[in-house]
Symmetry: C2
Subunit: 428 residues, 2 copies
């Protein structure tokens, strides 16, 4: 399907992708109000906005605003990420026209009243505290904190000190400074008439502005990758690691994703085969690629019992390195590529996935990409291109940050024992 | 879309729902090999099959079988529930013909070799142990264990004793006894030619049989509902409760779902408004309905900090009772119904959701239901019917089982203090 594009007088990029046969319409509004833009001593204001924005907007109090959207069956959510803040919603296409005003008001005209601030801060503090019960998530957060330079290393739920210091006025100032039409993207996919949508977006965002132009952010010194342990009474040892890779807008990003698909793209992927099937080391093991316009990374996770943890780390790192050292087989390559292509085409059947992709692509690539373009990019990956990429991008021994969280620390990853021997030695 | 149906010579019910414009085809094969059918002293064999079935099938060893499916981009998973065992898969429709044989082999012709059993049992034991790091999930499991009669009260991951006693021969016997064409359903939705699919299913399941006819299960005495506490060093107090409701195939089940939608169907739902917005008591609170052919239940969950836990329980139970005591407003009713209808129509855009619904409906209703039929059922709910249902089905004070898991026990739910007072008293 072609993507229709429009830029409003206020500078908001608006995209619409009609999807044949869709009954739903999904909306993604992405604004540059991510965690990197928080004041250093007010960390927590970005995720808190996910709650504070829902406390009344556009002349309707919290209750009336929630009712206006529920009356139209609009399922929605909003929250911050490192660089952005995204409001996403999905509804029946027939309700899009009427829903758009109260939906956009959430971001463009929130009340942010003093009286509503206290409960929002309490809830955000609880959200931070609740992570104590989520050791896997904490391991991944610690990994970012240890690997990335400031301010990309920030905790996604904020800090206790930042939340304690935060006031309603701080939250209003943060939103006014960063949430404006310039640098933002509004995307819709599904049952939508692009021209009508553009006209409505133009009208509904006419009075929207930010206090200043979209801000960049200063990146601090990059930490030296190392191995870290977080002592925790958790049952499992949670192993998380990552290293730097090409940014998501680099032409080689698709090759990095193909490499990850060889490791972790299906049940015959190398990690699944070596860690889970051959050695029975752990139930959950995966690798992934994550990237934005300025940087990218490969990460991996495994959760296992303490007696199996060292072998799991050894095998995991061995497989990550072996990918760059030994050729990817012809059949292995084809499986990885078929998997990538299938997942991509299937994601194109979800209006929500398409809307979110459209706004993400503008943030990362500076323009939307059609599903067909992305499928062609995958189809253009050849064994030779992947081989060259893997040769040129092997992570050095000093490149990986490793975080373990659990009842005991691990040694640096070593050469794993052969599969049969280790499996026999593991406790039943 | 019409649903096409076929019954194979061996007695397998096969359903196909072509979906216009879909590129993917999703498959759900549901067999009556759920946890209730496990031998009392071999609990864990049903969930273990989720791993053991993936260790070679139809003449292909584990590796070759995984590769055969990955080569066609088939994303799949399988696992047990209380009554059933489900294999689900999604792929591009163009690959369905070729993928069907290795996919069905997983269930109809698994190798279940002795040599593969040990690692599978190790992984299943790890899966059970890993729940120690998931207090919310443990609270919900404890709730079922406390509320339901045997064997519906069983732990979904099995027991340590059951897994320790389990042998490969036990697993083979379990599968041979319960996984046959009679009582099973194979459903496909999306890009599919029904007649070609029926012919393939007929051919591929011709040699499939179970050792015996589908078994029922004896239900033990129903526990007396009560309040239970599980002492745990978790950060939050996890509150879970449930009471009995009409079975899913009862004509009033749609009314029970409508009642739950008033509580928890959107951001203006009563639980969200009273517990989260007005009092800021907790981040996560919801209610739901779950049912099968023989019984149903309403459940609710809230996770909060220890100082807020008693008030959260009080408000939660108060709201659950108030639903039956005070009329549902006209606008409140309409919001709940629009939400139900929207979610239903939107679920119809996912081939995976449709395939799973088709096989579930046969298990519960004895026949598949079209999306249109389900939408009509929702449209036929009136305020008066809901009112009558709520009047007749108020849970008595002795009906609720309550489980709390966390650092301290709670009192029985009492009348909550007014919102303003309690909020002021809560620690910031």
């Amino acid at each position: 399907m072609p993507i229709h594009a429009h830029t409003t007088a206020s500078g908001l990029i608006v995209l619409a992708e009609p999807m044949a046969g869709a009954a739903s319409a999904a909306v993604s509004l992405r604004v540059p109000a991510g965690e990197v833009h928080q004041p250093e001593d007010r960390q927590g204001v970005a995720p808190l906005m996910g709650e504070f924005l829902c406390r009344g907007a556009g002349g309707l109090d919290a209750r009336a605003h929630a009712e206006a959207l529920d009356r139209l069956g609009v399922r929605r959510g909003c929250g911050s990420s490192s660089r952005d803040f995204e409001l996403d919603a999905v509804m029946l296409g027939v309700n899009l026209d009427e829903a758009l005003a109260p939906l956009l008001d959430t971001v463009t005209a929130p009340h942010l009243d003093d009286a509503q601030f206290g409960p929002c801060r309490d809830l955000q503090t609880q959200s931070l505290d609740a992570l104590e019960d989520e050791p896997q998530e904490r391991a991944m957060i610690e990994l970012s904190a240890r690997h990335l330079p400031a301010p990309l290393d920030r905790h996604p739920e904020g800090t206790r000190a930042g939340l304690a210091a935060l006031t309603a006025a701080d939250a209003r100032a943060f939103w006014a400074a960063h949430a404006g039409p310039a640098g933002s993207v509004l995307a819709v996919a599904g049952a939508v008439d692009p021209e009508a949508f553009f006209a409505a977006a133009e009208r509904l965002t006419a009075g929207w502005s930010a206090a200043s132009a979209p801000a960049g952010y200063e990146v601090g010194p990059t930490p030296v990758p190392a191995q870290h342990h977080v002592q925790d009474p958790s049952e499992q040892v949670h192993i998380a690691l990552r290293w730097d890779a090409v940014p998501a807008n680099h032409p080689d990003a698709v090759l990095q994703k193909a490499a990850v698909a060889v490791l972790s793209g299906g049940m015959s992927g190398r990690l699944f085969t070596e860690v889970r099937e051959k050695r029975g080391l752990c139930y959950s093991v995966y690798a992934g690629y994550g990237g934005h316009a300025d940087r990218g990374g490969v990460y991996a996770y495994a959760g296992t019992t303490a007696p199996r943890a060292q072998e799991t780390l050894d095998v995991l790192v061995h497989e990550l390195r072996r990918l760059h050292a030994e050729p990817v087989g012809g059949d292995e390559f084809r499986r990885a590529m078929v998997g990538m292509k299938s997942r991509l085409v299937m994601s194109g059947e979800s209006t929500s996935a398409r809307a979110s992709s459209l706004s993400f692509d503008v943030a990362v690539h500076g323009r939307p990409r059609t599903l067909a373009e992305r499928v062609e990019e995958v189809a253009a990956v050849t064994p030779g291109r992947l081989r060259d990429f893997l040769d040129a991008n092997a992570p050095g021994p000093e490149a990986m940050t490793i975080v373990t969280l659990g009842p005991r620390a691990l040694d640096a990853p070593g050469e794993p024992a052969p599969a049969g021997v280790a499996a026999a030695a593991a406790p039943a």
